[in-house]
């Protein structure tokens, strides 16, 4: 058990709620895994953007590592830098965002972005049947695009009509503003879909301030603890949530460590469900100590 293994973890910096959760779970998992395996050394590095993540990858490999677990900012940008890591003989685990060249990744732990959009869309289609929906997107990046596409596909041909889409930059404040303006612009809105729970917080506040009663529900995503709690409490405005747990980084780290310490080689693709959280199962996904 005292085999020496160096694992590097490269993730985005904590620039909004969800990435903050990723950093939290990575650091927690690192501590647990290191205590479990005395020879194991895990280095976590965060980067604010794709280019600096490429830098961090270079720096980490220079130090000599056995495995890399990474949640890339952007798969298009980081495919080449990861290929170089791979060429040095490092075991590469990719989380959440699949590379454009899948041969590079030994292990892929996938959060399923299109699925997150699809599950939310399906729910709206099935519960509302018809209705006017406004959407608050995140930032114009690939994840956002995938979620949006999943959503659009799910509601295609149904009675759900999207009135408007705007970017809320994964920020509560921006989502608050946009929602206020939506409320001014549209006399009747049936539901709101936000791509992220952080933004849903702002949306709910804007609605409650305007005292509008036409909005039946706000669907968020990612499973932030406050939102899960609302679901569990049976808040009518937030009947469901769609899981997209930042803890997927911990899962990936555990699997990667297992590859070195357990006898079974771990390879391939692990797809996490975009689980639909309802009042019934919400308790299972509520972690009051998590920062996200």
């Amino acid at each position: 058990q005292d085999k020496e293994v160096n694992i590097a973890v490269s993730i985005p910096a904590a620039d909004h709620g969800w990435t903050g959760g990723v950093v939290y779970h990575a650091e927690r998992a690192a501590k647990l895994l290191e205590t479990a395996h005395p020879g194991l050394k895990i280095t976590i590095k965060t980067s604010p953007d794709g280019a600096s993540q490429a830098n961090a990858l270079e720096d980490l490999t220079t130090q000599g590592i056995d495995a890399l677990v990474t949640l890339p900012h952007n798969s298009d940008e980081l495919t080449d830098p990861l290929r170089q890591v791979k060429e040095k003989g490092v075991f590469v685990t990719v989380v959440d965002r699949a590379l454009s060249d899948p041969t590079i990744q030994d292990l892929y732990v996938a959060g399923n972005n299109p699925e997150l959009g699809r599950v939310a869309g399906e729910y709206l289609k099935n519960t509302l049947k018809t209705g006017d929906v406004v959407v608050i997107r995140g930032l114009p990046i690939v994840i956002d695009e995938e979620r949006q596409k999943g959503f659009d596909d799910a509601i295609a041909g149904s009675g759900i009509k999207v009135l408007d889409k705007q970017f809320g930059n994964w920020s509560r404040d921006d989502a608050f503003k946009i929602m206020q303006d939506y409320l001014t612009k549209f006399p009747k809105i049936d539901a709101v879909w936000c791509q992220d729970d952080d933004m849903a917080v702002g949306v709910l506040e804007a609605i409650s301030q305007a005292k509008r009663t036409d909005i039946k529900m706000v669907i968020g995503g990612a499973g932030m603890k406050d939102m899960i709690k609302r679901v569990a409490d049976g808040d009518a405005m937030t009947p469901i949530n769609v899981l997209y747990p930042p803890s997927m980084i911990a899962t990936a780290m555990e699997l990667t460590v297992a590859n070195f310490y357990d006898q079974v080689p771990v390879r391939g693709k692990y797809i996490l469900d975009a689980t639909l959280v309802t009042k019934e199962n919400a308790k299972e996904f509520y972690f009051p100590d998590s920062p996200f």
């Binding site: 904590a14 620039d15 909004h16 709620g17 990435t19 903050g20 959760g21 950093v23 939290y24 997107r137 114009p140 408007d164 889409k165 705007q166 970017f167 930059n169 994964w170 920020s171 509560r172 404040d173 608050f176 503003k177 946009i178 206020q180 303006d181 939506y182 001014t184 612009k185 952080d198 917080v201 702002g202 506040e205 301030q209 406050d226 998590s290 920062p291 996200f292």
Partner: protein, 336 residues
């Protein structure tokens, strides 16, 4: 000689009025142009509710930008205000959550005091490093911007810092949502901060010193003004303004997150410049600044209310409108 003087004096007065008109009024005319644009884009734009929403939303930037007017008039610059807002909000909420004082009202009052104290200290830090270290404000405040942001993230453990007590939250919320004499409380706070800022800048000797330092540091020094002290003081005022903005901000969502205050520095500086204050210092226009902050928020509002542009291109339209607004303002100023 003396009769020449009398004649020219009255004439001079008329001209002065005209001058004053053009430079001070220009931002307000640009604002009026935005109103027309907004009304064309969506009739709802002119509804009282919408305008009050926008005005209320502009309060953070407006209040921060009042502080920035001081800093910039004195020839400085502060890029750290956004991060500082996040930090002050975070510490204020952590303090409120500590529930160390009995009685929610007292606790809230203490929280506000803590916020203002932290803001003033953060401002002092900026001011001290800039004046004692003699380093460009750009570099110092870019550095403290990173520092304040990261300390906030660290305090929040990468997530967010939310007010725990529901009771306190409900008591605090009216600071953002409340209405007094038909106007939202934040609007009253803008007015109060504007009046106080204008009073300090235009009517007190400290304000005169700020303008003197910004227009020629040597002259200020030779006139016996403590240049460093004045300069540091403007950063402290900036810090206090940030704290006031935070006191309006926190009750809105009851939390500080890692994105709180992101890019506020650019918005505040833009508001100041659009309001007619020159970045090189020596001029300060408090009311223009407030008007500038309002303009920025209106541009965003018009974008959401309009249906014309793809959401991808909104930034481009927004950027263009701001440049055009500035162009309109400059053209009006020049026509003397």
């Amino acid at each position: 000689m003396s009769d020449t003087k009398t004649i020219t004096d009255t004439r001079g007065f008329g001209r002065k009025l005209a001058d004053l008109d053009k430079t001070a009024v220009a931002p307000f005319l640009a604002l009026a142009a935005l109103f027309v644009l907004g009304a064309l884009v969506n009739p709802n734009f002119l509804s009282i509710d919408n305008l009050l929403n926008v005005l209320t939303r502009s309060s953070f930037i407006a209040i921060i930008a009042i502080g920035a007017t001081f800093v910039i008039s004195a020839g400085g610059l502060d890029l750290s205000v956004g991060s500082m807002a996040a930090l002050v909000a975070g510490i204020m909420i952590l303090f409120l959550n500590s529930a160390s004082i009995d009685g929610d009202v007292l606790m809230l009052a203490a929280g506000v005091a803590v916020a203002i104290g932290v803001g003033a200290l953060a401002g002092l830090l900026n001011g001290a490093v800039i004046t004692i270290g003699k380093i460009e404000p750009f570099i110092v405040t870019l550095g403290t911007m990173a520092i304040f942001r990261s300390v906030t993230v660290w305090l929040a453990d990468g997530g967010s810092i939310a007010m725990k007590s529901i009771a306190m939250r409900n008591m605090f919320r009216p600071v953002y949502t409340g209405v007094f004499l038909g106007l939202p409380i934040p609007v009253w706070i803008i007015i109060a901060a504007g009046l106080l800022g204008a009073f300090i800048l235009y009517k007190t000797s400290f304000g005169r010193h700020v303008i003197a330092v910004g227009s020629n540091e040597d002259v200020a020094k030779y006139s016996g003004i403590h240049v460093n002290r004045v300069r540091a003081m403007t950063y402290i005022i900036q810090g206090i303004c940030v704290a006031i903005a935070v006191v309006v901000y926190v009750p809105r969502l009851g939390a500080a997150t890692t994105t709180t205050g992101m890019l506020w520095e650019l918005q505040a500086i833009t508001a100041v410049v659009i309001g007619g204050t020159a970045l090189r210092g020596g001029v300060g226009r408090i009311w223009g600044t407030i008007c500038g902050a309002f303009m920025l928020e209106i541009v965003g509002n018009i974008m959401v209310l309009s249906n014309i542009v793809s959401e991808y291109l909104i930034g481009a339209v927004q950027g263009t409108i701001i440049i055009i607004a500035m162009l309109v303002q400059r053209t009006l100023q020049k026509k003397k």
